[in-house]
Chain length 496, copies 2
């Protein structure tokens, strides 16, 4: 059971936002290096945290120790990686166009850099107690952008969140940062979140979770007198396309890869492959049999919290109850209370196309195989899919050449396109795109994984006609920060 | 009077969007060079258009020939400039992280580039018949991003819009582009715009105009089943801060600059300076007298259309009718029907702070001077301002050092910060930021002027684990397009 904390009162929330707004002005005065140092201090505190942190997370999330250890180290890596990106300054996309007095009319001097949006509200996610919660990706990006952060703890792991919050507050102290740049708030009800999103001092929101939750925050953000960007990552079904050449040569190998991917972390990843699509026939049946065989061998495990387990059961049963949907395999071990029972089902493209319910995510260890009658039907299914975080093509090179229109249709619906891989396991690097067309996320133009996520919480500000001595360091002629800049439309290294 | 055209029927609009969606798939197959060539062909057609185009625009907008000629050439410049940026590819922010098989777990190969959002609906603006209408900035950016464009002509210059549309269609033909990448639609009523924004095939919207119009489009865009980005540029009052040192030494010079800026184009620019803020006293009174003297000498002129002229009169009279607002000067020449009568008013900070109506834009040749009692009041006024496209500081270097908090507060509310200049005249260059905090625009993170405006209509797509031969040219190892790319987090020139 999670630790219990008192919900923040409306007055406490208002006070936190007032404090954050004032701290925002102070935080801006710190250099990129200082911001990065602060983030690295949080990373250090997290890395060196005692074993009680992992114990608390195990107790609250039922995730195994090894997974939590590695998620903690991923979180440390993210903080350090975004800190380096922050200090390096590429994300600021500094551009300078110099004056030309001889032109008619004279061309002014204009220089542009990124400035922070202001206080960012981050909602802890249920499935990543470290990496997408209190000191997770959204928090790290917001700090890197120069924004104060107000975290609303996820009630399912409030104790873990509280412990991580204390590590952040310790770093605030040791780095002599303004106290108000970080606030940790508890609140189990919807009202806490609503007040935070609607507060006039809130300038942006980061969220990872369900469609219902993320869409509600997005709507609140847009309905404000002054609308704000709400970055909700709402998961997806992550379709996998099995093309004939690959299926023929590697059905057993693909089945083994996917049995692991579908059941990894009891299927509790937003990149979990929930749909597998191929052309029906002997080869696909062999694949389903091989996948089913592997799934039977995967034991059920306890899900993050009872609410998630009961939602998984309800959604899975509802999907399996649809006309034309058949169970292909379940784990040989019967699931106990709060456990997720690994399950594979199959249906026809016709059934899938006619039933919107089957397009929805079933969060947990479940995947639906769709048998298409033809390449045309494969294309129809693809075009009928909603926006996705990822899509995966399992294919030979020849398959790709033979399915050009299909590949283009798949590109239209996803943020990350994999070839002969599995979508679970999201690499933290600059080239990562973790954000897809709605409803995967509320803004497909941004990512919530990788240092480009910093750009979510900043906006460009142009300076026109300012004397060099009065410009921010980022824009000064002599480039004291030694950052890459675009000068008169040419990308220019520091020193030139 | 504007030319009259038949409004598009709901069926015609639906058909146009279907055609655009199909063309979107075809358009993607053209290279960056081919897109750029197409944009340059439009620029060429516009540059070489016969005198009838300017005559039509003069008849419909009442703008003088010289202004329209120069706006036309600005539009040609924009198309060519964004075409060059398109081909150069920096805007795509290509990033590659290469694989590392020796890491545990192995690091995958991930490469990211921008892909087009899909069909973009552009609303012609009333005040820029060329530069922010049919072949204007939004259209050029959308084409550069690889998106088909559906233009809704502004009914006040529908004939001009029709002529420019034909020049674009000519370029579609000569460049062998898919026909559906450009559609021109007439529609005087609100229903045409509503259907266009709500159509499922519409993927983004560009708009320049009033707050009421832009906010409505934004709300429609967000209320869709699948929300889309709506970039509304809704103007602002563009505050000018007169600091004491500057005022003391250059009151007459500043007054002359601002009399010209306030009345330029009969005040019909979104960057028109509508508020001038200073510390009350002898120096500010001298400035107001000098500004008034200059304004008296500026003759009224016909505004864009009767609706704009009547709105100007109504809004100006309403502002002047507020308690505590006093007229400082009006033009010596009485305005005739449909003309804008240059007017300067003044009030106290106290009156301004207590009356939200005085914060609203009066679109036309009108500016309100605010007299503050102290630096504290100056800061209070600044913090009470809404989001702005621009803010201008008229100041000596010493003034800036003496007003640090004020400058920081000004940065918070604007997208472009000018020093000792005038906000009118928006340079088309990469460093320009034309987009400010709401309500200046609906998304302060993007610009509608300068080649960075292309980024509004594209989103990142990451490719994971793809063999080199199957990757788009932008991402291939050998870099056939010779673009700058970030490789393993290092900005890397072509050839490396």
């Amino acid at each position: 059971m999670p630790e219990k904390f008192k919900d923040a009162s409306p007055d406490e929330i208002d006070k936190a936002m007032q404090v954050a707004a004032r701290a925002s002005e102070e935080f801006k005065k710190f250099s990129l290096e200082q911001r990065a140092g602060f983030m690295k201090a949080i990373a250090g505190n997290l890395e060196n945290a005692g074993e009680q942190l992992i114990s608390m997370a195990m107790k609250e999330t039922h995730l195994p120790q090894a997974r939590l250890q590695s998620e903690k180290m991923r979180t440390v890596f993210q903080l350090n990686n975004y800190a380096e990106a922050c200090a390096k300054g590429d994300w600021m996309q500094v551009s300078m166009d110099t004056a030309d007095q001889n032109r008619t009319p004279p061309k002014p001097d204009i220089r542009k850099m990124m400035v922070p949006l202001g206080p960012v509200v981050v909602f802890g996610s249920s499935n990543f107690p470290f990496a997408y919660s209190t000191a997770g990706g959204d928090t790290a990006c917001a700090f890197a952008a120069g924004c104060p952060v107000i975290v609303k703890a996820h009630p399912a792991h409030a104790g873990t969140s509280q412990m991580v919050a204390e590590l952040i507050m310790e770093a605030v102290q040791t780095c002599n940062m303004p106290g108000g740049i970080f606030t940790h708030i508890h609140g189990a009800g919807i009202e806490t979140g609503k007040q935070l999103v609607l507060h006039p001092h809130t300038k942006a929101v980061g969220f990872t979770g369900s469609f219902a939750g993320g869409k509600q925050l997005f709507d609140w953000g847009n309905q404000r007198k002054v609308p704000i960007p709400v970055f909700s990552e709402m998961g997806s079904v992550n379709p996998v396309f099995l093309l004939p050449g690959k299926l023929k040569n590697s059905a057993a190998e693909v089945a083994a890869m996917y049995a692991t991917s579908i059941t990894l972390g009891v299927g509790q990843f937003c990149t979990n492959p929930g749909l597998i699509i191929g052309i029906g026939g002997e080869e696909l049946d062999k694949f389903i049999a091989a996948l089913g065989q592997k799934i039977k061998e995967v034991a059920p495990a306890v899900m993050l919290h009872p609410g998630i387990a009961s939602a998984f059961n309800k959604n899975k049963e509802r999907a399996l109850g649809q006309k034309g949907v058949h169970v292909a395999a379940v784990s040989d071990v019967q699931a106990k209370e709060n456990e997720g029972w690994p399950t594979i089902a199959f249906t026809s493209a016709q059934v899938f196309l006619a039933n919107p319910l089957l397009h929805e995510e079933v969060f947990g260890p479940y995947s639906l195989v769709i048998k298409c009658n033809s390449n045309e039907e494969l294309l129809d299914v693809t075009k009928a899919l909603q926006g996705q975080l990822t899509a995966t093509v399992m294919a030979s090179v020849e398959d790709i050449h033979a399915h050009r229109s299909l590949i283009e249709a798949i590109k239209n619906i996803c943020g990350r396109l994999l070839y002969n891989g599995v979508p679970t396991g999201v690499e933290v690097c600059l080239s990562m795109q973790h954000g897809g067309p709605f409803p995967a996320t509320t803004d497909s133009r941004f990512t919530s994984v990788g240092a480009d996520g910093i750009k979510r919480f900043a906006r460009p500000l142009a300076f026109q006609g300012w004397p060099n001595e009065l410009l921010p360091d980022e824009l000064k002629d002599e480039n004291p920060l030694k950052i890459w800049r675009t000068i008169n439309s040419k990308i220019t290294p520091p020193g030139l």
